[in-house]
Amino acid sequence: MALYNFKKIMVVPTSKEFIDITLSKTQRKTPTVVHKHYQIHRIRHFYMRKVKFTQQNYHDRLSQILTDFPKLDDIHPFYADLMNVLYDKDHYKLALGQINIAKNLIDNVSKDYVRLMKYGDSLYRCKQLKRAALGRMCTIMKRQKQSLEYLEQVRQHLSRLPTIDPNTRTLLLCGYPNVGKSSFINKVTRADVEVQPYAFTTKSLFVGHMDYKYLRWQVVDTPGILDHPLEERNTIEMQAITALAHLRSAVLYVMDVSEQCGQTLEQQLELFNNIRPLFANKPLLIVANKCDVKKISELTEEDQACDKLLAHRVDGKMKGKKVHDVLNRLHLAVPAKRDEKARPPFIPEGARIGRKTMEVDAPKRKTERDLEVEMGDDYILDLQKYWDLMNQDEKYDVIPEIWEGHNIADYIDPDIMKNLEDLEKEEELKVKAGEYETDEESEDEEMQEIRQLAKQIREKRKLKIVCSKDKDVHGPRLPRTVKKVERKTLEKEMGDLGLDMTGKDDSHYAVNARRSRSVGVAKKRKREASVVPTSRTRSQSASRPPRDQSGVRDPKMAKQAKKLMKNQQKDMNRQGKKGEADRHVFDLKPKHLFSGKRKSGTNDHR
């Protein structure tokens, strides 16, 4: 688990970069426009936002750094020790501690300045406060330069560590430098470790993987160990020691039989004895290498090592507590026998027969396919032969489905004949009771007459309504009595109503009609200019003279008056006016007066 995270640690920026990033982010992500004349709370909010935003950014990034870097107490002791060896535990913890302090300081700064900003009363003051706050935060970060650099280097190195799983099956190769550990791992796995004639070619741990008995095995190659006490060991050797100490693996102590590494067998044995305490609880194998130079069989050692480790691991597991937990939960339940009756499992007859036929290979019944093959072209799929009907000879009947818009299937009923009989009986009874008799009394003449009369009445009424609607009189109407009634229409109408209108010449309406005709309207006569009009219609009284004669002394004056009148009318006539009072303007906005440019002059003309 821990090793997975080493590659996922976020990049730690340098302090300068850190400051740049955060400040530019503040610049971009917060509003930038503020004016003096804004309301003070708006100005304050604007600057407070900036301070808080910067603080938030710093806080987030630093927290992420702190969480990303592994805590030495939380990871596997192998890794903890390895990191201690490589990076110095104290320095590491110190660096992270400094980062944490910086984070807290920045938070405090922001809190203080936000509090102060509440009392800022002008844009200038708020701005200065914000500037001060941001400045302080940035100087805090500047002081973290060293820690950040150190952490960045740690991160880079960590991500390049080989992924050694401390819990899986491992083979650990150790021994003097240059004995052939790396060559061995190259041969056995796909790892490509550098092999050189000089000592300490391998400076750190390397991992390879191989397969044996369908399982994956880790093979860990270590830098060589020299024979001196623990305190004097350098970093490289310490790595090997750490690996030896923490990884639960099979140890392969490689010895160079040919003494090509530069140490004698005795010296190698010395080393072996010295680091023997590290081999406690681990299956150990001594590998005699480079036996082509000096012959001792070596091949079997590999297999034995793996088997030994496997057995060791299984023993370890069985003895462990976990197995007991699992065993306790397993329990095979068997129903208790209640009597001596044997109750074997139930297998249905069909299945049993099926199984038997499968085994015995009995002759199967003829399938349709066989038939088809037999008959060739003549073959017709005839499923009706399998039908199971009451009378077998009805199989090939054409079954009717629909009759006159009804589904026959809806009527099918074994009792239908009985029901039909009942229905017919019912029908007979009904007919007898006279339900179907149309008591349409043939109407007598009188009724027919009445109907005809009613019809006529309705027609007449409709006609009258239509006539009255046709008149289409809008506005005030003349009373009926003013209109002159024609004798003909009157006599016709009354005649239709059944009154005798013949010989009505002496009736009062006829007499009145004649009388009114004699009182005629005065005929229009052509007036001569010299003659003063003297004739008057009988309808006018003699005392009132006509308008064009009243106040006129003699014909000469009359003539003059007439001339005046005509002159005055000339203008009006020319303009097409009806009279003096006609002030109607036909075209309020004539186009020629309202369009075009006005060069000089008025709008009367353009």
Partner: protein, 168 residues
């Protein structure tokens, strides 16, 4: 192959006609024409849409409960084919159909009888009230009668000839 009923108008949906709508609760609705489908989509209640059979039955305009209507019923029990049963069924169907039609017609006739009565009464009252439109109160009866009879006979002759020609 069967003739289904339209959900909306209760008319017959012949095979190859109409549409079917399947709702999310697996209820199917068949429609004989797009008119019914459109009305359904508008969420109209067939029991309130006057031209549908559902309305007519629900408002008592047509025969609803009768023995002859019990013959046509969807049965969920399959009966194996027997020739004589099928042929007898077809015969029975014919007879039942005849009786059914008679009864339905009678039902409607009975329903409309009252209207005829009302019509008669209305004609009588009309004549009583508005006779003055075609006959003056003190008209000479014989004269009027002659005039009127002429027009009446004309009308009667027209009606008879219409019925003879089968136009009524």
């Amino acid at each position: 192959m069967r003739i289904e009923k339209c959900y909306f108008c209760s008319g017959p949906v012949y095979p190859g006609h109409g549409t079917m709508f399947v709702r999310n609760d697996c209820k199917t609705f068949r429609f004989c024409k797009s008119k019914c489908l459109k009305n359904f989509k508008k969420k109209r209640n067939p029991r309130k849409t006057r031209w549908t059979k559902a309305f007519r039955k629900a408002s008592g305009k047509e025969l609803t409960v009768d023995n002859c209507l019990e013959f046509e019923k969807r049965r969920n029990v399959a009966v194996k084919y027997q020739r004589e049963l099928w042929s007898k069924t077809v015969e029975a169907m014919r007879k039942v159909e005849g009786i059914k039609r008679k009864r339905q017609a009678q039902f409607i006739f009975n329903r409309l009888k009252k209207g005829k009565q009302l019509e008669k009464e209305e004609a009588i009252s009309e004549v009583k009230k508005n006779i003055h439109l075609i006959k003056a109160p003190h008209a000479k009866p014989r004269l009027w009668r002659r005039r009127w009879c002429r027009s009446y006979k004309m009308w009667k002759w027209v009606m008879i000839s219409k019925s003879l020609l089968g136009l009524c």
